[in-house]
């Protein structure tokens, strides 16, 4: 049986109009999955983006800080204690202000924005595409800040490429000058980001008791060359006691994502969303395949009468569903790409289309079509050759 009639292919491509419809249906399901997955990843990516850009081996934080947006802090002494270890190259305190940092333009309504501050002389960031490092010199002047160009438009600032060099607004009831734009992204807890020098931070948020610098949000740790971050983390945990936790950067990122995906309904909602996308895909794909089978029931029954085995029909339907998933995937991917681009532009959420995510949706698409194919197969199995006479 070297050259078998490609019945699955022929049946699928025979009716062009239907093929287009089927492809569109699958593409829609693919898009739904990408979208839901995309939102889910956007939530996580955006939330941990600030950690991702940190040049850190370990992160120090208050163990009760269940998420980045939570404002549990720890005393600065811990940083000093940690720094004194020879296994550690540097520990830089990172200050974050969330709820009380309210920003507005003149005449606008004040909205909370996340303010990040650190000692500008210390290298805390990886050189990423966020364009922060080259602009840090601008922040030496009092009353200045850099603003995330992906911040919500509702703040009232011009965040476009053609934005003026300096824009004036009000932060925590004090005048502030936005002297540059960078790119970090928002998340579900934060509508935008500001970066300022530690001096300015102390000035704007002087009420952080007793000394604004005495309470730290995160400690950004670089271990000495040749040291194992894992081991250093254990050492620090012992040394610092219960008030500070130490984690590797990746573990901290995972912990943050774990919180959003497991402890909040948001992560669950998007998981359900992705499942719905999958389910919708299964239903669409099932409809297409089942319809096709129903229309050819007489023919399939004839094949059964001729002596074709169940195995042949299973292969036929599986092949057909894989073809369908291949047809539907590419347009679905392209449509998702376009949609992600709009999403990113409108919400400032980061929706990355990485290869492993594309691959995972691709596998899901094939799975989706095969599952529906196997469901539809039951219809085919019921084709009764005895009904032909």
């Amino acid at each position: 049986m070297s050259l078998r009639t490609p019945l699955a292919w022929k049946n699928l491509t025979h009716d062009r109009r239907r093929l287009v419809l089927a492809t569109a249906g699958i593409a829609f399901a693919v898009m739904l999955m990408f979208q839901q997955r995309g939102f889910r990843h956007a939530l996580f990516d955006s939330t941990v983006e600030i950690v991702r850009v940190l040049d850190a081996d370990l992160i120090l934080f208050n163990p009760t800080r269940f998420a980045l947006s939570n404002e549990a802090r720890f005393p600065r002494e811990a940083i000093d204690v940690a720094t004194s270890n020879h296994q550690i190259a540097s520990v830089i305190p990172l200050y974050i202000e969330n709820l009380s940092a309210r920003l507005r333009v003149e005449g606008g309504r004040a909205r909370p924005i996340r303010v990040l501050a650190w000692d500008m002389n210390k290298p805390i960031l990886l050189d990423e595409e966020c364009q922060i490092i080259p602009q840090l010199f601008k922040l030496a002047r009092p009353g200045t800040a850099l603003m995330d160009r992906l911040s919500q438009k509702t703040f009232g600032f011009d965040l476009s490429k053609t934005a003026p060099d300096v824009q004036v607004g009000e932060l925590a009831n004090k005048k502030i000058e936005i002297v540059g734009l960078f790119r970090l992204g928002t998340d579900f807890a934060h509508e935008g980001n500001l970066i300022m020098s530690l001096d300015n931070f102390t000035n704007y948020f002087g009420y952080r008791n007793p000394d604004p610098r005495a309470i730290v949000d995160l400690g950004v740790v670089k271990v000495s060359p040749g040291e194992n971050p894992q081991e250093v983390a254990q050492l620090l945990e012992k040394q610092l006691g219960s008030q500070v936790r130490v984690m590797t950067k990746q573990a901290f990122i995972d912990r943050e994502i774990g919180f959003w995906s497991r402890s909040t309904p948001i992560g669950i909602i998007f998981t359900i969303g992705a499942m719905m996308g999958f389910a919708v895909g299964v239903i669409i794909c099932y409809q297409i395949l089942a319809n096709d089978i129903t229309e050819h029931l007489g023919e399939f029954a004839t094949l059964k009468a001729m002596g074709y085995r169940d195995r042949y029909f299973i292969g036929l339907v599986v092949r057909q569903s894989i073809y369908l998933s291949l047809f539907g995937f590419l347009p679905g991917l392209i449509a998702s790409w376009i949609l992600f681009w709009f999403n990113s532009n409108m919400t400032g959420l980061l929706t990355r289309l990485t290869w492993d995510r594309i691959l995972s949706i691709f596998v899901l698409t094939i799975l989706m079509c095969v599952v529906s194919g196997l469901l539809a197969l039951r219809k085919l199995m019921a084709a009764d050759p005895a009904s032909l006479f």
């Binding site: 009639t5 049946n11 025979h14 023919e299 009764d384």
Partner: protein, 383 residues
């Protein structure tokens, strides 16, 4: 006792006639014994086939007729392994179908050619590809199969339509493609449901001729369910079903021979050809070994006998009176009268007799009272 010496035409081959009663079981393509079938379960259970017996020899062309709902289709699906046998025994191509394993079913199906009333062609495949679905299953690669497919389609008048899809074919052409698909793999048994219904006279005839060739040359057994009178002439056997019973199962040739034999007898001559044919159909074969008593003087007569083979002695009161040979008949009085036998008949050699029982004879002539009067007159004049 009858004394008229009937001489049966020498052209009539009585040996072949006798053989037709008792085919070698290995010769049988279909051997159904007391096959019954039910549809539904519990209270809605309905019997659709009643103890059907059918034996079809290899190379026979069988035409099945009967009104819809008579069970012929059900019987056909049973023979075709498309339905499980519930009661009785059904052997097809030597394989017992009752309780057959799925694997064996598939293997058997490959030896059967199905021609359904609906053509059931894949719209996405060309005529040749549709036919190829059959050769592919037989393990033929497309290179080998292709010339055969084209030849068969050409034979069926579709030489110029080989690469057409069903959408561009007429109903009759589609039906012929379906027929090609059903016979291309040279099946040993063809089951066809109204194969010629959608065809014009010419292509219908061509199909039937192909069937005949396959039956004659390849020993392919063919069962056709049809109401098409145009093709009745190809039948070796005509099976007529009513209400789940095989009402008549006529081997056409045997029946014709038997009619010729019956026509030799004065008592049947006044029957209409139809009635004679029905009587002939009721004739059975019974064999006796040498010395066996066939009828005994004084018993109530039940059967009418025609000797097909061997010789019998007639004895009255224990004394030999006569010896009858091939072609002679006796016991005809019992067909109409309730009289004790007036002689004993004993097989002298091995004897085979064609037998008509009184009941069966009665059931045939009941419809024809004039015939009975005729017969009475004929008998009366003889005394």
């Amino acid at each position: 006792m009858p004394q008229d010496e009937v001489v049966i035409d020498h052209e009539i081959n009585l040996d072949e006639l006798i053989a037709s009663w008792d085919p070698d079981p290995s010769e049988l393509s279909i051997n159904a014994k007391y096959v019954s079938h039910f549809f539904g379960e519990g209270e809605t259970k309905k019997q659709v086939l009643f103890d059907n017996v059918l034996r079809v020899r290899r190379g026979e062309i069988v035409i099945m007729t009967g009104p819809s709902g008579s069970g012929k289709t059900t019987l056909l699906t049973l023979i075709g392994t498309l339905r499980g046998v519930q009661q009785g025994s059904l052997k097809v191509l030597g394989e017992e179908l009752r309780g057959i394993a799925p694997e064996a079913t598939n293997e058997l199906r490959k030896k059967i050619g199905f021609i359904f009333q609906a053509h059931n062609l894949f719209e996405s495949l060309t005529a040749a590809q549709n036919v190829g679905m059959s050769t592919e299953l037989q393990g033929l690669d497309s290179k080998t199969a292709r010339p055969r497919i084209e030849a068969t389609l050409k034979r069926l008048g579709l030489g110029h339509r080989v690469n057409y899809k069903p959408k561009s074919l007429s109903g009759g052409q589609k039906q012929r493609v379906a027929i090609a698909r059903g016979i291309i793999h040279q099946p040993r048994l063809i089951l066809a449901d109204e194969p010629t219904a959608a065809l014009d006279a010419e292509s219908g005839r061509e199909v039937v001729t192909m069937f005949q060739e396959m039956a004659r040359n390849d020993g392919c057994t063919i069962v056709i369910v049809t109401h098409d009178n145009r093709i009745l002439d190809v039948a070796d056997r005509i099976v007529s079903m009513v209400d789940g019973h095989i009402r008549s199962d006529v081997l056409v040739k045997r029946n014709a021979t038997m009619c010729r034999i019956l026509n030799e007898f004065a008592i049947f001559r006044s029957l209409t050809p139809k009635a004679i044919s029905e009587v002939a159909d009721k004739m059975d074969l019974r064999k006796y070994s040498a010395g066996e008593e066939i009828i005994r003087q004084g018993d109530t007569g039940q059967d009418f006998f025609v000797i097909g083979k061997g010789e019998v002695d007639i004895e009255i009161d224990g004394k030999w009176v006569n010896t009858l040979g091939k072609g002679a008949f006796f016991g005809e009085v019992s067909l109409i009268k309730q009289q004790p036998r007036n002689a004993t008949v004993r097989a002298k050699t091995e004897v085979a007799c064609f037998i008509l029982t009184k009941e069966e004879f009665q059931s045939v002539i009941d419809s024809s009272t004039s015939f009975e009067q005729e017969l009475r007159r004929a008998l009366f004049s003889r005394q």
